[in-house]
Subunit: 362 residues, 2 copies
């Protein structure tokens, strides 16, 4: 097994409304320049992964809407490395497509699938975890997840419950749980058996297609038709278009990981953050000496502490006076000013706006 | 004396930085649509005056920079009714220019000069005050000011001290005072002799040119040359351009009213406001049931009281949560969020921005 068999799939096709109005249907958070320095989570992710797998073995999976954004942000990538999903159907169809695509190139491939919007604070232990994991999946039939040892009873992450049973040094997974209530999260952390689900997944292509095929036989059959019937790229594309829209919208966790008994977990000893909310984003961003995040825009603050001011127009002058622990988010057509705490409900803001204005501000 | 001898000069050439960043060098407050209903102080002023003098006798005095704005906001006016000052030289040269212009059209004209940025709350007593005043100046040689009986020791207005001596029913003016310290303002109000200077001035053209000419003989001489040497509009214009730039920058109050002994005052029994500051603007604007001013933009407020949110993009969605007595002002390139109180120093914000960015945000 050489490094040239190591591949990476960067998932860059999703979007959420949790960071509305900054993150929009048209511009999800992986494409945003939060610190105003030209970097984005997507660019950082690809740069990080290119230290682990050969750059030409990185596949960015996105959908038609974001294809141009990916091209623009990653000019060093061959456009053939960008995989376009014809529709947003969740991670299961998306990862299956990537698996068939890679197997077609290299049937010995071992693949690490990473979300494009994760924050990784310690690069070295991260690299070691991924390299050891790729080594494991290259030798074993199974799906390897990465769990992060929890440092607090976090209710905004999913959890992996590890089993004592080990195979080739990796624990089997007993169960996955969605974002838990706080009382459960506390029990999880105290038990020592539960780990934050990092969203990272490793496998060799034959294992993955075998296991996913068992769980999703209809999808497997259709992908087999597409990839067995022709080697012509355009023909495959048009076959894919003809069926993809009708695929169920389904996540890899729900469709495969929770169902298969060949799922393992390795412990990632690195700091990790999934920017699932405004206060997690605040934790991630650079702050001035008063704890203000003012990465974008030309800001002038007076009597300000602990605020996050984000403005998608880097040239704007932002003057803030007497604000403490507030969040100010400005986009071309939305301005939100609210306390920066967990109780703030952006979904409510957006829903109220939908009631009044339809999808205009979505 | 018929109504056709009544004229009005609307002064729309000035700008201040007190309402920065909303009011800018490029867009002074008389042109702003504070309530988001299409009205502006300039439009309202012209509509109000056209009930008092024939519409064709309204002259809007502005400068080159704002000429297009005036044309756009007042499409019903003949462009010849818009007088362009070649440079901003304060009210003395500007009103003298208007006086010569009107005398040339109608040497029997009686004129009321009004700032374009005043707020008048009671139209009827206002109309009566102006009509009576025009009647007075049509029969008397003098300059008639309008004083407003003060209801509080306001330090942001100038004051007129009235004399007991009356001529044809109007009090003579003893003195003008600039914006006073609070202790003086209190004494002023208690004395009963002091009135807020409304900035409104009435005169017949011959009186005004005579009195202003005594106070400003150099300007008088130059205007005489311009208006006596030719009746050709273009020739006059080029003569005016050749001298205006060298005129002193000087206000009518300082140059004429404070020096002449032919100045009178009539008491205006109407509510009046000069929007000289953000909190005076707050007083002026329409509020919702929680005291929030959210005239422009599509606003959604939660737990908000007593705020003023102004946004020069009417389409923007503004979500504010948990703000009390704040001011949020947004323009294309500046966003200010600060407490809404007298202590807030917008000049400081602007000066700090100038130190960092030059005139970019001025």
């Amino acid at each position: 097994m050489s490094d040239s068999d190591y591949y990476c799939v960067v998932l860059a096709g999703g979007f959420g409304t949790r960071l509305w109005p900054l993150s929009r249907k048209g511009l999800p958070k992986q494409f945003l320049d939060f610190n105003g320095d030209g970097t984005t989570l997507l660019k950082t992710t690809v740069a990080r992964m290119s230290k682990i797998v050969p750059k030409e073995n990185i596949i960015v999976s996105t959908n038609l809407d974001f294809y141009e954004d990916v091209l623009t942000q990653l000019p060093d990538l061959d456009p053939l490395q960008i995989l376009r999903e014809p529709a947003m159907k969740g991670t299961a169809p998306s990862i299956m497509l990537a698996a068939y695509h890679i197997r077609d190139i290299n049937p010995n491939a071992s693949v690490v699938v990473v979300p494009s919007d994760l924050v990784i604070m310690d690069e070295e232990p991260y690299e070691k975890t991924i390299c050891d994991g790729l080594d494991f999946v290259s030798r074993n039939d199974g799906l390897l997840t990465v769990g992060i040892r929890p440092t607090r009873p976090e209710t905004r992450f999913g959890y992996i419950q590890a089993d004592d049973t080990q195979v080739d040094g990796m624990n089997k997974v007993r169960a996955f749980t969605e974002k838990p209530e706080e009382e459960f999260a506390k029990v999880f952390v105290e038990s020592g058996e539960f780990f934050w689900n990092s969203g990272i997944l490793m496998w060799n292509v034959n294992s993955f297609i075998g296991i996913a095929g068992e769980c999703l036989p209809d999808l497997e059959a259709q992908f087999n038709v597409i990839y067995d019937s022709t080697h012509n790229r355009d023909a495959r594309r048009s076959l894919l278009y003809s069926v993809y829209e009708a695929f169920p919208r389904i996540s890899i966790d729900y469709a495969v990981l929770e169902k298969s008994d060949k799922v393992y977990m390795t412990t990632g000893n690195f700091h990790w953050n999934d920017i699932e909310s405004w206060d997690l984003l605040y934790d991630y961003c650079r702050k001035d000496e008063n704890g203000n995040v003012t990465g974008t825009g030309n800001s002038q603050t007076y009597n300000c502490k602990g605020n996050m001011v984000l403005c998608n127009n880097g040239k704007k002058l932002i003057v803030a006076d007497g604000l403490e622990n507030y969040l100010v988010v400005e986009t071309e057509d939305v301005l939100v000013i609210c306390p920066r705490n967990k109780e703030v409900d952006f979904k409510k803001y957006l829903n109220d706006a939908r009631v009044r204005f339809g999808e205009r501000y979505s």
